[in-house]
Symmetry: D2
Subunit: 306 residues, 4 copies
């Protein structure tokens, strides 16, 4: 297919198009992107774990969570400051921290050294989110918000692109290409990690669950793209007791990173209380995952050589 | 559930919350929103047909299409000036007309009197799109782009909210609530039409089709919301020969409006050539639908009394 | 593809294979099977309606139902004598009538003249079911029970093949081919009607519904097979208020026949009380459908010329 | 719900119903069925691997396969003698071995000691299949063939019940109850293993794949039933390169057994050549799985103590 780039700004040359496009496609069987974010390598033998509460409820909560996550060996702190809520009203319990939440994340980073992953939902907030995070997260509902993808790409930072809950692998990769194109224009290798977070399916096994973790997409994606692929079992299963088996399964399936919700008091979490794991449950999972990582030639220990 | 509104700006009173929220919910079995857009009533006995090309390719094409649609009895002209493309590169054939396309739509309106429906993808373009259209369309990929929904709501214009292709009825209605809340703040009844455009499903029957038209959602939505509900069989089926039966079926199922792609030369359309209908096919559909509308106590003739 | 028939018994010749296989495939755009069952034509302008209770609960109930269905213009009496129940225990309310139910169906036929459609679940019961029915129904759970399909085919009677609730159009047609092959061996044209009865899908809109009526499959099937295609909105929607719009939509989409559950006292039906229509609801639907049938050039009146 | 058992033959007492029904339900958090089949324990720390070709093509092929599987540490030999084919015609390559295939399986068992798992499709063949196998397999297309389930249950042998490709967990468990009821009548604990083999889903990632492996069902099923749960990644993925990651993921997710297709010459397999693994690929998988089993406190070595 002859591809003509009509984007404003720098055009791709014919040679670029022939040799490089799609930017997210594997160019050889061993082609695999590895990049470093906040000092942590993604795409290599280390399988970084990104943990934290759904929402940055208070400064104390996020600092306390970061310390517990750090103590158990987690690698990134995640937490939502800007929250896409499906309904425009909030329960009395819920408070969207917005810029305050970003500052609290920065405090938690200072206290623990954990790099920060947090979601950006609007073009007008990219700058402020970028100041307080190491990786910009695009949520499932914005996977095909192309203007947002382009502007996030221009920030030149690592990006986690969550899969749209109804989207095909093809749509997901084509969305990643929007970001990759901006990274390429900045002279960077694409620094994107694809995150499977559950898809709609005929049967999800609980009346409270709306999604199914699609682990088949891990080898399917790795077959065609050089980008690292990760999973988010908390949002997929929406049920804490299934998170541990799906974390272990993701790791064994070859996921390059893992994300989950951890909260000091899950049953009282402001959002999604059924899916969050306690500090003890998180610690138990990390202990359970380490020998599995080792068994498949990977590691959860950032300093180790595999 | 006690609901507290934490939105910036005007707060809802406790009474409002108790009596009005969700704004999109039916308050009685006969509760049905009827509103007028560009002189055409939506939600009443008339079933308006919104037709036009996927993309406003040229001024001539859109004017020619508008005339043919008008001649066959269509009620709205639809066409994309801003186009969400799944991949950041365009084929040589494709040109995104952007503001030029909006002007061409206005020319077509002047020539034919047909009101305009067109998509808005970015907050920064709402003003210019609003100047050139009678109804703002939110596309399937932006159904849960909440900042966009809020800003589009603030424009105080009729909105067509396409269903996300993986979204539940509940998610769709909650997204509509974002727009309805802004309309309510402006002192308007909500002027929103919900558009089913095909969902992901296990079997879509052609390897080229990715979506299935969900007609069960028409009575399901009408059971719980007072908003009008319409369908878009072209995007759902992605195959022109199935558009006519699905138009007729949508009408018979109780859809309050219908949308389809019409192009003077479908096989050479810049986008989605397999799903567009020719002027002759459109005229044939309109002829076939009129007696069905009549049979169910509705009409396709804007001036008629049913 | 060179096809070799290894079936026991009469072999197909090379010529047969080249010209006739698959037997269920359309050989030309106008190729459409029309056959008569119990004096009622299927596949022509008439759209026969097959109505009756889920289960033949008592002789009185089925005779009363048959009279009401006849009075409202229904064409076939349907009712289950042998019932596939998903769980091996029965509520006190439920009684599987088995051979008794078949006899009661015959009484109802004698009283009203309505031909009978009823399900056969086991090879050992084909003979007795065939004695008391005009059309053998294969249920969704047995769509790929190939030994049953073959033996039912050998009975040389009209067959209604319900679509498996997770099955593709391709699987459905290939299952029909098992029956068609036996009809061909008997020197008959295939007398098979394909019945869409709802499929599993990500969103079915009520927590009580498990299925979605797939109307897109009506034109999709008619594009490739000459067999008539019908729908069963009661089982698909599992909710009576949606049955009427889905009956009308099925008719408008081009369905060649329609099936629904009708019960004298739906809320007290032994099985599936939420989906059954009362006699009054059935009569209302028949009245609503007649003008729609007429509008699309078909009819619900067995004696009429369209 | 008061449950009344109307089955012919021995009735359940009121006490049985109150305390035992559903037979497949967990009665306490630690309730887990363990049973022995052909000397191999299922449901305990051992995770038995059932391997072999899709079809028992020849005696040599099945004996050669059994030896290779045994050498690599596989625990059961699987292979189809009776084959449900979706289309009634066979390619010249395909030969359904039927009773001959059963005999060849017995030869392979004599040579290697591997117990046999093979499918039974018809009531009339249960006796002969039972003579030549240690575990009766019910295929996905027969999961709700209730007469077959009942008769297979009466054989009093271990049964593998594959999940219907469109079926919910609830339907699957209710189907298992049919078998469990017969085992209970024989005075046995239920000897049933549930096998997830891929379900229909909106996106399966290859145009050649029709199914998605649902690993979320492993913890979901184990939450509510005491029966062991296993997976079949070959049929689910339909693509050999994804089998290894999905085997490892299944193991890590807590599957109690694993099944896969192994063939001496996969590309020339009579059926499903894209999904079968070679002997070398199988050996590599077994080597990769052993340390993962050990890491999660299980084992692949029948003689070991964990």
């Amino acid at each position: 297919m002859a591809v003509e780039n009509k984007f404003p700004g720098k055009d791709l040359s014919e040679d670029d198009i022939a040799q490089k496009i799609p930017l997210v496609a594997k160019k050889s069987p061993d082609h695999k992107t590895v990049f470093t974010c906040g000092g942590i390598e993604i795409g290599g033998p280390l399988v970084p774990v990104m943990a934290g509460p759904n929402t940055v409820e208070t400064e104390d909560l996020i600092v306390e969570s970061a310390k517990a996550i750090k103590a158990s060996g987690g690698h990134f702190l995640r937490g939502g400051a800007f929250k896409p809520l499906s309904f425009p009203y909030r329960s009395p319990k819920f408070f969207e921290p917005r810029e305050d939440g970003l500052k609290w994340l920065s405090v938690a980073k200072q206290e623990t050294g954990l790099p920060i992953v947090t979601e950006v939902m609007e073009i007008s907030k990219i700058d402020v989110v970028a100041q307080h995070s190491d990786m910009l997260q695009i949520g499932t509902r914005n996977m095909q918000n192309y203007p947002l993808l382009t502007e996030v790409g221009k920030a030149g930072m690592p990006v986690m692109l969550k899969r749209g809950y109804g989207s095909s692998l093809r749509d997901w990769l084509m969305a990643a290409e929007y970001i990759a194109l901006e990274h390429d224009r900045l002279g960077m290798e694409p620094q994107i990690v694809l995150c499977e977070r559950g898809i709609v399916a005929p049967h999800t096994h609980r009346s409270t669950s709306r999604f199914m973790l699609d682990l088949q997409v891990v080898p399917a994606a790795q077959e065609v793209t050089h980008l690292p692929v990760m999973t988010d079992p908390s949002h997929a299963t929406f049920w804490q007791p299934w998170v541990k088996p799906m974390m272990l399964a993701s790791l064994a399936a070859g996921a390059d990173a893992l994300m989950l919700e951890v909260h000091p008091d899950p049953r009282n979490a402001a959002v999604d209380p059924l899916q969050a794991s306690s500090f003890e449950e998180f610690d138990d999972m990390m202990r359970a995952m380490r020998p599995v990582a080792s068994a498949i030639g990977r590691t959860l220990d950032a300093g180790s050589n595999v």
